[in-house]
């Protein structure tokens, strides 16, 4: 193991290198570009034996990724925001073709009211594409989740693409201490890629033809089942990873000081670190606050959340994107998951367009949830940190 001080973008690039990625189609977009720049350096310096394909657009990137993955090699790429939106059409071809492509999406807001700063509305818009989605908290998790993504995607029970989502700038361009695994350790954890289906003239196969109504529904159902099967594989991969590298992330969700908590927040991405700090403050004041960290948005942890919230009186749900329908996508999904649990669920939208989320904002969220836990009437959804009088 080697200790490095690197950004999350570079951590992801190191993970793709350690995974012995074979084809890297790429197109630049802030704040993702550091990833493909670093991979281009690895390849040109002979540290990684892979084909770097400079594409003409993100649509072409995902098209090349499909072609290369169907051609039978391990493929990695990365994008952000508008780039992910341009890929939208091609994203859908990947899960249904059962191609285990791994992609980092460095979260950035999707225009108009354009900006280059973090917001989850880019990847949240793709949550029903059939890609598995994991959101990470820090640079170490960015590296570890990318390594685990390959193992998960390529498992024969899964065979689905995985999107590793990380906060633009807050992680992508911020350096932290990262433990870099040794190549031999990674090789033990992630065996050589063996394609399940591939385009090979010695064994001709028809891939992704036109599918009439007589067959399409069964194919979609099989895809749905594959996403379902990924739940147990995610848990297994987390255990395997812990055995090899000594770090564990809890699978679909992780919890913090939740055991005897009466109320809690559910967060994803970098806001989780801030929430941990606020939970510690509240605990020191004698309040019974806890935290649930949402790691996977797909598959969504319905059962795990119900179990975790069993003894909670109220749960606040943090969203870094809005559905423009009263709340955010995480809030509506958590509310749906907990509809048979007596926990009160509130929505908390913050950090939109890259706005800083301060400890005060997080404290406000917890205060609202605490009131809800005492049975007080609170707003179902609150936007935190709005400037001026926005009522």
């Amino acid at each position: 193991m080697k200790v490095m001080v690197i950004s999350a973008d570079h951590a992801v690039a190191y993970a793709a290198k350690l995974a012995r990625t074979e084809v890297v189609p790429s197109f630049p977009i802030t704040p993702q570009t550091l990833i493909v720049e670093q991979l281009a350096e690895f390849i040109n310096d002979g540290e990684l034996d892979a084909d770097f394909i400079p594409a003409d657009s993100e649509h072409s990137v995902m098209s090349m990724a499909v072609g290369a993955s169907a051609g039978g090699v391990r493929v990695f790429t990365a994008t952000s925001s508008q780039g992910l939106a341009l890929m939208h059409e091609m994203l859908y071809a990947v899960p249904q073709s059962r191609l285990p492509i791994v992609m980092a999406n460095v979260n950035r807001s999707l225009g108009a009211a354009s900006g280059i700063w973090v917001e989850y509305n880019d990847s949240m818009a793709e949550r029903d594409s059939g890609w598995l989605q994991v959101y990470v908290e820090d640079n170490q998790e960015a590296l570890d989740a990318t390594l685990m993504a390959f193992r998960l995607a390529e498992d024969r029970r899964v065979l689905l693409p995985v999107m590793v989502c990380l906060d633009g700038f807050i992680l992508s361009h911020t350096v932290e201490r990262v433990d870099l695994p040794e190549q031999e350790e990674v090789d033990r954890f992630l065996p050589k890629f063996v394609p399940y289906n591939m385009l090979d003239p010695s064994d001709p196969k028809l891939m992704n033809p036109i599918v009439p109504p007589e067959y399409a529904m069964e194919m979609r159902y099989q895809l749905d089942r594959a996403v379902e099967h990924s739940r147990e594989v995610i848990a297994e991969v987390d255990e395997l990873f812990a055995r090899e590298f000594g770090r564990s992330y809890g699978g679909l969700i992780d919890t913090y000081r939740l055991e005897d908590a009466e109320y809690a927040m559910l967060t994803l991405g970098t806001a989780t670190g801030l929430a941990r700090q606020v939970v510690d403050e509240l605990r020191s004041e004698g309040k019974k606050a806890g935290l649930i960290k949402l790691r996977f948005m797909r598959p969504f942890p319905f059962k795990e959340l119900c179990a975790a919230c069993r003894d909670l009186k109220a749960l606040g749900v943090f969203d870094r994107s809005a559905s423009f329908n009263g709340g955010g996508p995480v809030y509506t999904e958590v509310a749906a998951a907990l509809c048979n649990v007596p926990t009160t669920v509130t929505g908390h939208v913050a950090g939109i367009g890259g706005r800083d989320i301060t400890p005060e904002h997080m404290r406000d969220m917890y205060d609202i949830v605490e009131k809800a836990s005492r049975g007080e009437k609170v707003r179902s959804v609150t936007w935190h940190g709005l400037r001026g009088d926005m009522e």
Partner: protein, 322 residues
């Protein structure tokens, strides 16, 4: 590799087999069947959204005996790039071919095509040009000729048919300086065979542009498909040439240019065209003719038009001709 020279030398082992759903008299089916015969079994096929995907790959059947992939409309240049990269890494030398329509090439797929050509990807790109979006029901594309009726260039009381001339896709490809590019006609079969053979043997980015008459889209007699393709060449509506490592060469030159009306009258899509539009198209054709074949021999059909000697683009002087 034995060099094929005539139709008698054609392999008879079909890689695109019968039972497909193409219309009677489909020029595209003729082109694909013969291209696939020449490319052979060691080929990997990508087809974007087009008539071809619908007639040849409806689950659970396929007319291709080679590996086959379809995903979307605009990405032939990109998907084939990915397939080739993977097969190269796996030590496979299979020909990776993209079989795209004119909409998927001239219009929506132009960016990915340009990217693949610019990177000189080791792929064969075939444009099967039926001059419109025929699969979606005969809409205008950048390849549709001037004056033609389509459902999006209807013959109205104010505007009659398409008002723009056909895009010169070969000039765009030539500007990328590829190892090989050629235009093909299903009416000139020996020439067709030689060009597919040559494209198969070369490395790097190769482009074949085939005119594929479309019975329902062109409003033509199914028995006249090859004749229409032949008349396109005789009138200058289609020109047969190849560009090899930067050198352009005419592969067939008609003796005398026939009037464009000989071509138009075979197709219902031009039936409405009146004298003014016919003359406009003839004038454009004369300019194209002199550009391709030189102006040392005056064509009687063009006598009423001012001779066009101008060079529209530096590449044209270099590549379009002799």
């Amino acid at each position: 590799m034995s060099e094929m020279r005539t139709i008698k030398d054609m392999p008879v082992n079909d890689m695109f087999v019968s039972g497909h759903g193409a219309c009677a008299g489909c020029g595209m089916a003729v082109a694909v069947k013969n291209i696939m015969r020449i490319l052979g079994a060691d080929t990997t096929v990508y087809v974007p959204a087009s008539c071809l995907v619908v007639i040849s790959a409806m689950y659970p059947t396929s007319n291709f005996r080679t590996p086959y992939l379809f995903t979307a409309f605009e990405n032939t240049g990109a998907v084939t790039t990915g397939i080739r990269a993977a097969q190269r890494r796996r030590g496979l030398s299979s020909t990776v071919v993209g079989l795209a329509g004119d909409g998927g090439t001239f219009d929506i797929g132009l960016q990915a095509l340009s990217g693949a050509a610019e990177r000189n990807e080791d792929i064969l790109y075939v444009c099967l040009d039926n001059e419109g979006y025929m699969n979606t029901g005969i809409q205008r594309s950048g390849a549709t000729p001037f004056g033609a009726w389509t459902t999006t260039t209807p013959v109205g009381t104010k505007v009659e048919g398409k008002r723009e001339f056909k895009k010169d896709i070969m000039a765009i490809i030539a500007a990328h300086d590829p190892p090989y590019a050629a235009s093909l006609s299903i009416a000139h079969f020996n020439d067709f065979i030689k060009k597919v053979e040559k494209a198969k043997a070369k490395k790097g980015f190769r482009f074949l542009h085939v005119m594929t008459p479309c019975v329902p889209g062109w409003r033509s007699d199914p028995s006249m498909t090859v004749e229409i393709a032949r008349m396109a060449v005789e009138t200058g509506m289609w020109t047969l040439y190849e560009i090899e490592d930067g050198e352009a060469r005419t592969t067939y030159k008609p003796q005398t240019m026939l009037p464009v009306t000989d071509y138009l009258k075979l197709q219902g899509r031009f039936r409405h065209m009146e004298n003014g539009d016919v003359a406009k198209l003839q004038e454009w054709l004369c300019a194209k003719w002199y550009l391709h074949y030189g102006n040392d021999m005056e064509q009687p059909v063009c006598a009423t038009f001012e001779k066009m000697k101008r060079v529209r683009h530096p590449h044209e002087e270099q590549l379009h001709f002799i």
